[in-house]
Symmetry: C2
Subunit: 562 residues, 2 copies
Amino acid sequence: MGDEHAAPQPPVRFETHPDKYRHWKLELPAEHGGAVARLVMNVPEDGGLRPGYPLKLNSYDLGVDVELADALQRIRFEHPEVKAVVVTSGKDRIFCSGANIYMLGSSTHAFKVNFCKFTNETRLYLEEMSAESGIPSLCAVNGTASGGGYELAIACDEIVLADDGSTAVSLPEAPLLGVLPGTGGLTRLVDKRKVRRDLADVFSTVAEGVRGKRAVEWGIVDEAPPKAKFDEAVKRRAAAMVARSKRKPFKAVTLPALDAKRSDAGVEYKYVSLAIDRAARTATLTVRAPSSGNQGDGKQPASPAELAAAGAGAWCIRAFRELDDALLDLRINQLDVGVVALKTSGDAAAVVAIDEMLAANKDDGLVREVLLLQRRVLKRLDLTAKSFFALVEPGSCFAGSLLELALAADRVYMLQPDDGEVTLRVSPLNAGAFPMSNGLTRLQSRFLKEPERVSRVLEHTAPIDTQAALDLGLVTFAPDEIDWDDEIRIAFEERASMSPDAMTGMEASLRYGGPETMETKIFGRLTAWQNWIFQRPNAVGERGALTLYGKPERPEFDFRRT
Amino acid sequence: MGDEHAAPQPPVRFETHPDKYRHWKLELPAEHGGAVARLVMNVPEDGGLRPGYPLKLNSYDLGVDVELADALQRIRFEHPEVKAVVVTSGKDRIFCSGANIYMLGSSTHAFKVNFCKFTNETRLYLEEMSAESGIPSLCAVNGTASGGGYELAIACDEIVLADDGSTAVSLPEAPLLGVLPGTGGLTRLVDKRKVRRDLADVFSTVAEGVRGKRAVEWGIVDEAPPKAKFDEAVKRRAAAMVARSKRKPFKAVTLPALDAKRSDAGVEYKYVSLAIDRAARTATLTVRAPSSGNQGDGKQPASPAELAAAGAGAWCIRAFRELDDALLDLRINQLDVGVVALKTSGDAAAVVAIDEMLAANKDDGLVREVLLLQRRVLKRLDLTAKSFFALVEPGSCFAGSLLELALAADRVYMLQPDDGEVTLRVSPLNAGAFPMSNGLTRLQSRFLKEPERVSRVLEHTAPIDTQAALDLGLVTFAPDEIDWDDEIRIAFEERASMSPDAMTGMEASLRYGGPETMETKIFGRLTAWQNWIFQRPNAVGERGALTLYGKPERPEFDFRRT
């Protein structure tokens, strides 16, 4: 398997632009007056991120999904006129055949798992666009949709399937490959579309899938018009989506390239630094607040109008885009890093001022998108399989939106200074702007036992010193200056020495106390089963089904049930 | 690892009796007048179910847990005077050191997973006794409790820890063994005791654990009196539990041995048959209704008084005890069986009459225990990692409590007869007596999309023929007599040919649509992560932490994070 034989791979980059897309087109057809974005998937066979697997039949790899994620982000910021998304295929008779099997078969376990996590996040972005931004989505399945192809469709609000007597939707992963439809497919079948569990069982075990009438009857698609009436049905549904969209207008914001400076030691962005210590298998991720006043970064926007004028250069957009890129780099390109120090620096008052402006104008169209961007990046942090320890030191700026970094961390270390002050600070955004995947804020997740502590923290609008932070329950340990260096060093060394798998499973369990949502079920339950299966000889062994896919030999299973 | 080297193992039997216990004592101390059951764990080193691992330091294997499960069942039925349970150790200075590591290290993956599932179920029984039967539990931790030892404690309502300056509670699985505290430990920390997530992180990564004062402060135990005051604290809390117990009195019911007839072809009980087809890797599990009238089984009890007189011979107790034993046999001893036909036979009216009596008297102490027994067995069915297809044929008796078997199945095949009738039937017990682990009834889980269908089914008190069952949504497929044999044969052959791992992960996902509970989080999320880790070289490889535990070599990890 990949784990043993894979050569070192070039790093994956997550920045792109519609001008560079090879797999998708982002179209704004005139017939809807620009209110509908058509995302057309047309993957060239030689378009793989890495060599060795032709991307036949609109199958995808990470590179394809990076473009889709970029397109969704650009629809949010650069196309405020868009009120509905239609996802379709640019190929004849094939919508999408899912993740490329040869890519999966030749990937390391860590890459497979991180690939699935990214695609899962992108599918959830489609759902968030509908629920939070007033941009519903329609999947126009104009050819066979199998596996990840159907999983892309089911992430949309509505699915229209062209019924030409042969086109089918299917989840052939279990019967053909011995793995799961792990990009949310099983969960969304029973939890989102609420397909009856026995019908879901049949659908998920019949490799050839189901066609038009049965697919509608079982609730697997919404409508299956004959091919001749397909375009009309898509148009009608897209128009209805536009009509019911609650999207708020705002001036388009262009997202420029981040111009990161990358070296072997890490990545430098304007507001974010990622420093890697390879020998220690640790990293330091620092987010800097904007300089206050009129120097340095210039004045940060004090109103939605100023935010629109500042555009993507505004700290509240740029810093979080940078943080997002750094987290993805950590996940995919820095596999050996086990423990990450989360640091912040700068002027807490500046961050709180920005947060207050955003909170006061949360119904503004652009402000809403900024808050959703920040929310998504913070969720990406929660879902990153590294241990995060926040370090609160003199000069730190864990305030408001940046306080969330500490609240997302597995532990918070805060210096108890001899003199002077080290502080944390809340802003109105800590009260509800950034729910985790489980629907709770990070403060609520922290204080499941004593929910009244949440309001006690939020009332504390002045800077919170170390003793107060301890008393409020915001801090794990508060070493004094004599102990700080040793205690931090030992904590990082110990953590970095532990089994990375045990840490991943432990953190996935401890970070999400309380309620579950479809989102946490996808990342917690479904993903964990898929990861297990991705390790099983029945899938990835020499005679496993994934390994032998497309080869003349039939897989051989160890039939012992666990 | 075990998977390659393990010799065939003798089958595990799940029936036992206090007279045969080697590991536990069930005491009814005079000081509480018989109202408190003391379960005292004192595991002899040579008491392992299989040779090769001395059970040092009150560590346990499956045999130890089989006794605990039996003791809990007997407290329910044979000791109606018991109103609280105290779990403690019979050893000096050690409470329990958890699952035996050498047993885990030498077990096959399938055995490890099934062992953990059974221990998880037993922990949940403690919680169900408290929530549903009015029998709260107290863990008297009179010595070090590590790993599964603390996980046993946290399954009790309250934990008292003897504070002698050295006794600690700990979860050393992650730091020492590279695996998870997978018997509910991580989930219960944050979801039941609601320990703050960062403190839970520290607790779960510090191998030596935490002691008295800190354990109380962090919410890991409830009280940590000095050793001299320990007995007094335990007595005080147990007395308070007795005082608040809402247990209903009833006449004790002795649980006799089931006297199963076992052969290579399967198991024959009075009301249950398990027939194994090894070549096909399938089994048929049949449950028979009692004969009606005064012949055969005699009249089934028509009132709580008659039930008390009939005791454990009553069909409603005996048939479900037999079914429970058969399910455990399937899980642990019949690993190669992938698909199970669920069949029933007999007089539906007799089952409905029994169900109606139970439903009408659900507040009676003994009736309550019978319904809880049935509920637990049906949950065990949901949680069994085999594909279940219910076959509804002429002479079937899928009625009321036995209709739940069909509703628990992954698919329901019902014959569409040429003439004559094949029927299903509901009873009042289908309306709420048997919630699944997710808190929903099986009818509610089936009709997540159209909840109004639940009442439509429940209103249908007459026998439901095939067409009506199809219309109501109770049946997956209804082949006619010409197609039946072929369709069933092909369905079983196909299912039995698929990757058993993919089926296990798929069924775990599709069976539990809708809400999650602590229970589903333990079986879905935590167990899936643990199963993954149990497959990872970092735990079970030649240089893995679990493999090398107790050996002079240190584990070597592949530090790539997934």
